[in-house]
């Protein structure tokens, strides 16, 4: 049986990997939509890089997601660890991360409007939606990991 401290470190490491691979995967996928699928000019090496990022990022994200899920099940089977790892400080960090995610999404929507009004650049709903998912999820996950790491210092 692992200690709560060990579970906590494992969770933080896996969440870091999950956030990083999601950032690569969803970012590259958004890039593919923006440049390739919407038929905008893009050099071949960039398109290839985006494709590699999409596939590689997805595989890494799926693997880390599976590990997180399995870790969650192990923690769930240990009532003490489950309670401690979801304590009030951890919940406060989760809330802070979600609030930051909300402001990032609001900022992104405002930026899209500003781009259209100021520069005439129109982003399609699909592109904007992907960008919102990409940044929204990444910011929430990353900030949670940062806050948890800061508390560990």
């Amino acid at each position: 049986m692992k200690t709560i401290e060990q579970y906590e470190r494992m969770r933080r490491s896996l969440m870091t990997a999950y956030a990083a691979t999601f950032f690569v995967w969803a970012g590259a996928l958004t890039g593919l939509f923006v440049f390739v699928i919407e038929d905008r000019a893009v050099p071949d090496p960039v398109a290839l890089l985006l494709l590699i990022g999409t596939v590689g990022g997805f595989l890494g994200w799926a693997a880390s997601g599976l590990c997180l899920f399995l870790l969650g099940r192990r923690i769930g089977a240990d009532p003490k660890a489950r309670t401690a790892l979801n304590d009030e400080r951890s919940r406060q960090n989760t809330e802070r991360a979600f609030i930051a995610g909300f402001w990032v999404l609001t900022g992104l929507a405002a930026a899209a409007i500003a781009l259209e009004v100021g520069f005439g650049v129109v982003l399609t709903g699909k592109t904007l939606g992907l960008a919102m998912i990409w940044l929204g999820v990444t910011v929430v996950l990353s900030l949670f990991v940062v806050l948890e790491s800061r508390d560990a210092a």
Binding site: T3, I4, E5, K80, R89
Partner: protein, 73 residues
């Protein structure tokens, strides 16, 4: 230790040390992580009333002996 911007201070580290408890042992007794105890001791996290009462109970003191408002606040 004083909690920034709240005027709240605590003697958690001192009382814990007097009883020979590690942060981990205290954390286990009140069902939180060691990090939570650490952040409370360092004044970076203000615990809820329930957690404050649990901490006081484990330490065998009244809650106001652990947490108190500084007079200058």
């Amino acid at each position: 230790m004083r909690h920034e911007g709240t005027g709240l201070a605590n003697r958690l580290k001192e009382l814990r040390a007097e009883r020979g408890l590690t942060q981990e042992a205290l954390a286990e007794a009140v069902e939180v992580t060691r990090k939570t105890i650490n952040t409370v001791e360092r004044g970076r996290f203000v615990p809820s009333t329930v957690l404050a009462l649990k901490l006081a109970a484990v330490l065998g003191v009244r809650v106001e002996e652990v947490f108190f408002l500084e007079k200058s606040a």
